[in-house]
Symmetry: D3
Subunit: 165 residues, 6 copies
């Protein structure tokens, strides 16, 4: 569902179709929050190993959480037209689903002139990639699925919430 | 399907369960290739706009391709236990599927002591995120799906190929 | 022409001649804009190829534009005494002049405590270097010329405009 | 003058006109050197101040040299299709010309599969920009001119030398 | 001495013990300053060489000062849970003590929602490491000692000052 | 103790005293290892909290280990005259000493043309800084001490080992 206030043009291009970093200087500095998620699906035996390590050794999820938070800070380096944003909060949660899936949910926040959707999504991607990296020696077939924005608040376009999946 | 030569331990942890960047100094420098893919699913009207822009203005896919290639070069910065790798090739292809999907496929290559799976996967993620960024003003509900390794060649563990999806 | 309000000392050095990142904490956060330009001169046959590619394949200028925008964001990493600045806008325009020249003009903007002249100049340099990189296989003799600040607005030193070239 | 071995296509695009990081995995690891130059033109009074500072305080040129060397190492981050290259040498020399000009000459070297022209040129640009940054409070009208490759050695295309300026 | 206002919990972990970048969005933007120091101890002959070079050639301390300032800007890249902070001032002073020691003191400042202690400490570390790097060919046994926060001002926890060493 | 083969000049400066990244292109690619250490001294109550968290929540040391490994990869970005080096191994160990100290020891390794002493030392510094960051809310007076090279192997200057502390 597209919000009423959603633009009907690609704002990252000007009238001539040339890419630019859009002007946000006239926007007010407000509190902006975004929440994104994604999951990685693996063999049940791979998940069992991760969970075994979580308590006593080999903390895959703890490392993925750190990577996700650091990834959020690299968003403007990675995504060409993103504004650099002084993040004021990043949290990354990982929950196990069934016997073969880990879901990562990230909340990013700033007090700024533009939103933090990309920061939240980038953090999810880097968190999942880090799990892949640490487990790939035993399971190269892991797949990352359903990476999407869940919710955003703040700014002119207001509150947006994804449909239930 | 797991290769016979696949490890049965998480190599990124030592015997005490502590994370490390694994020792690859004794591995030989060989040609190593990895291919990964992923897709982004959107509203048909969003895809129609992207395609309209591809020829005359607003080249979303051209920008995503550049971001993917640059993303491959940032892999060791993003993924904590990845070795820095002198990439010798990166290509990123984007193809349209049906009326709502763009699939991104990346091939990465090096002549080195360790594989480039993470470089290929990171490039796919950054490529898809860049499409999301440029189109989010019209479609916040886009979802990234099926990000996975397709194939790897070179190194001790040999040739690996994903099952057909 | 030097503005009346221009300093008569090198502000990047203290009274003992030691370099520092100058204190801007007492400056007010105001809208600041800078515009810079530069050009790359090449063989007419090289320019002809670039123009041929612009419409249907091999979009040299489109890639240079992205690199310029990303380069602006890396300014504080590259220039030792630059303050990190949350850019609120970057645009990069490329125009053809005669049969052998491309001119790049960048506008950078922030709402902050210090100006964005270096961001605009760095973006021009990276944009021109990217054109060089993509065309060097056919023309190593390309030269970059006339990289300069055109105009700046905002801050205590006020409006400054370059003399006509 | 274009070398006989110079390509007649833009190698950074494939047959479909899509940008890629070109495959250099089959190239041999050889010693490769590049030399580039550029100059910054300023008011004579600005140059006089720089020279006054060089001995006792405010070492503008010393800082520009460090920035140039560090800039060479960031080339693959800045230029989208550049390969990451393990540089084995970078030197940056600055000489005064007349009463208003500083010329910067950089030599970069590697033992690798592709050349270091871009590293030498990027270092020159960052060196000149750093001089601009440190002197801009007294002279915003400085101009950077004549940034170009002087010479390259090594690799399949052999020795190339610019015409005398 | 621990300030009365000092927290009695590790704020970088939530109630479940999971690391996060703590929420500072409700904190007010105030002027915040931090001062840190550290020293490097070397052979007297090594210090003598550094001092000999300081005036006429081989300016070790000048280069270390630049590296320290640039290091302050990289803090959020290096320290996983640090917020990105728009620094408004960084100074780095180096003084000789006795015949074998250089002490580095850094002052960092921002107008922001969180303090700059880590920026000051990181700058000290990078400054000392740079001295080590430049002198290691003659003295590998140099040791870095006493790296610590000296003072911080601003923010809810107020003024803090280290005990005399 | 200084090795017999240790240089008696500062190799990072040329005959004119100008800094450069020294030429290592003629050096052979050999296996090179470096080991460095440092410690952070804190209040016993701070150490007690860290140890309490290690098992069940708030894994300070696990996060510091990841930061140290990532820090090693950023060395050439931070230290101006360091060569970029393709690290082939990094390990970081943290041990508790007495009731108030954590010692960090890092081993770095490459197969390359120059040593990895700076990578090992940088990793130690970043690891210690990360502990400081996570504990500073309860103990701002922590001090980092004894950061030094323990041992290096490989290259022309051969094996070097620090005197016992």
């Amino acid at each position: 569902m597209v919000s009423r206030l959603m633009s009907d043009t690609f704002t990252h291009f000007d009238a001539q179709g040339q890419a630019h970093m859009v002007d946000v200087s006239a926007k007010s500095e407000t509190r902006r929050v975004a929440r994104a998620e994604g999951r990685i699906v693996m063999q049940p035996s791979t998940l069992a190993r991760i969970l075994a390590g979580d308590n006593k050794k080999g903390d895959v999820i703890g490392i993925a959480r750190i990577a996700a938070i650091q990834g959020a800070k690299r968003t403007a380096d990675l995504i060409p037209l993103c504004h650099p944003i002084p993040l004021t909060r990043v949290t990354a949660d990982f929950v196990v689903e069934g016997d073969d899936t880990i879901r990562c949910t990230v909340t990013a926040e700033t007090v700024g002139r533009t939103g933090v959707e990309m920061e939240a999504l980038t953090a999810v991607q880097v968190g999942l990639l880090t799990i892949y990296d640490m487990c790939k020696a035993v399971d190269r077939g892991m797949t990352m699925e359903g990476i999407r924005l869940l919710e955003k608040e703040g700014g002119k376009s207001g509150h947006w919430r994804a449909d239930a999946a």
